[in-house]
Amino acid sequence: MSQTTPSIRQFAWSSRILHWLMAVMVLAMLFIGAAMVASLADYHLLLSIHRPLGITILGLVVVRFVNRQLTTLPPFPPTMSSSERRVAEWSERLMYGLMFSVPLIGWAMLSAARFPIVLYGPIRLPPILPVNAALYTVLRGAHTVLAYLFFVTVIAHFTAVLFHTLVIRDRLLERMVPWRAGPTAQPAPAPRDPA
């Protein structure tokens, strides 16, 4: 990047689309998972959404990880301290880890219990582990614990962005909005119209 062009403020368009698509899916998934295990009447309906949605998230996080390697990130705003930046970086790694591991563990635990993994109609997933009741027990527990950890992480991320956007008002959120951020959002020095 040359010094004369304005610095990249937003994430790449592909990153922004993937972020919001997966934000909706992951949040829905966390709510569905929590509701499903507490529900007798809606268990089957929620489970029939939970499994295909989970495998979609697993597929998308692979795409997202590749996209993350191929795109350039906008810099952190100056309002973020170095320790806050470290927390943000580690929470991103944690969320990537959970987006991979929670659905993968769900698939693995059903495999270990030799439970048919029906996604929709005739579409099923093959087992990825041998039958093993002890392994099922460990994975079933891990699926729940990691899912709640994921919810806590998502809430922390959501709270931090809201705090920056509404209280500090540093337009942190505009780095990720799906539309192009307005010119006034350009950081100092004086904004320059790229057109």
Partner: protein, 358 residues
């Protein structure tokens, strides 16, 4: 930049409160979804807890139908149901099955009794890893319509340790609150008890939907009708052997294969699919879908069937769930029971491997 114009402190507090309110709303919504705000609502965990309270703790065993034996064999389809369902299991041909005969109740050491409800659970293994699991019992209708009524019945009919019998007042109160259960019990009492597992009809009870290759849905209930002749249960069963029903079953399978016909009863418009306490009219079309042959029997202790949950909603493509509220509840509850028991150390079955004579 906005960050440079310092807002008055009051407005900062308001915006801080807004952040708290938004995050708080999400947390409350999550707590509601997870059932934390409605502790009185019956959950799958709560229903399994009720089983444990009523039957006591029996680690490693199924929370219901704890006492049983594992079996295997084949199912040979007649092909007669293939027009109504696209399921591979209904095409002409033969598939392997495993299954389990069991006594209802959560006590793995209960003594056999002709009065106790008997069950047959079957897993059909179809090509490419597809499965159909079904758990059927010896009652022509189910005594309760909803999972909540099932919990209430469990509690009301639980044995009072002081008298060794259920509390009559509690039973009366339950039946008064559930007239559908009182009606179902009348139908159940009219059914003659058979002498053993081999000559019992096992009813699927819940309604399902058959889905044809063109996508047409047809309501269905199924049952396994024995080819072994009906013999009424002895009024005074031989005392002494607490496993006399299972031992008789073992002896019969060792003599030769036992067979049941899978009978599909086809529902008509207006037949209730959401109420397992009501039998469909007797003149409904019945389809002989095929023959179940059981030719091998094994103790739960040595059988892989121990780690199979007979979740009634493990269905092949071509059979789907109905609006019966018991089906989703059974699926959820079996899952909890499975997770609990496979995580616990296994104890020996009341019908040990030594009871089988190779």
């Amino acid at each position: 930049m906005d960050v440079t114009d310092d807002p008055p402190p009051a407005s900062r507090v308001v915006r801080l409160a807004l952040v708290g309110a938004i995050v708080g709303a999400v947390l409350v919504a999550f707590a509601y979804a997870a059932g934390w705000l409605t502790p009185g609502r019956l959950t799958p965990e709560g229903l399994v807890d009720t089983f444990e309270q009523v039957n006591g703790q029996h680690p490693g065993f199924r929370r219901n139908h704890a006492k049983g034996v594992s079996v295997s064999g084949t199912f040979e389809s007649t092909g007669r149901a293939a027009t109504l369902s696209r399921a591979v299991v209904f095409r002409p041909g033969r598939v392997p099955v495993v299954g389990r005969f069991s006594l209802a109740g959560g006590n793995p050491n209960a003594a056999d009794s002709p009065e106790t409800v008997r069950a047959l659970a079957i897993r059909f293994s179809l090509p490419d890893g597809e499965e159909w699991r079904t758990a059927m019992i010896s009652l022509p209708v189910f005594p309760v319509r909803t999972p909540e009524a099932f919990r209430d019945q469990l509690v009301a009919m639980s044995v009072d340790p002081r008298t060794g019998k259920p509390d009559a007042a509690k039973v009366q109160a339950f039946l008064a609150a559930h007239p559908e259960s009182a009606r179902a019990l009348t139908v159940i009492k009219a059914e003659k008890l058979s002498s053993g597992y081999e000559n019992t009809t096992y009813y699927g009870l819940n309604a399902f939907e058959l889905v044809s290759s063109s996508g047409k849905s047809t309501p269905v209930r199924w049952s396994m009708v024995p080819l072994q002749p009906f013999v009424p249960a002895a009024a005074q069963p031989a005392a002494g052997d607490p496993n006399f029903l299972f031992d008789a079953l073992i002896a019969q399978v060792e003599r030769g294969p036992l067979r049941w016909r899978l009978v599909l009863t086809i529902g008509q418009p207006g037949d209730p699919t959401n109420d397992a306490t009501i039998a469909w009219p007797a003149d409904r079309e019945q389809i002989d879908a095929g023959t179940l042959t059981i030719d091998r029997i094994e103790s739960d202790d040595s059988s892989p069937v121990r780690n199979i949950t007979f979740d009634p909603l493990v269905l092949p493509n071509g059979i789907t769930t109905s609006d019966d509220p018991l089906l989703s509840a059974r699926s959820a509850t079996y899952s909890v029971s499975f997770t609990r028991r496979v995580g616990e150390p296994a104890s020996p079955s009341a019908v040990p491997p030594s009871a089988i004579h190779p």
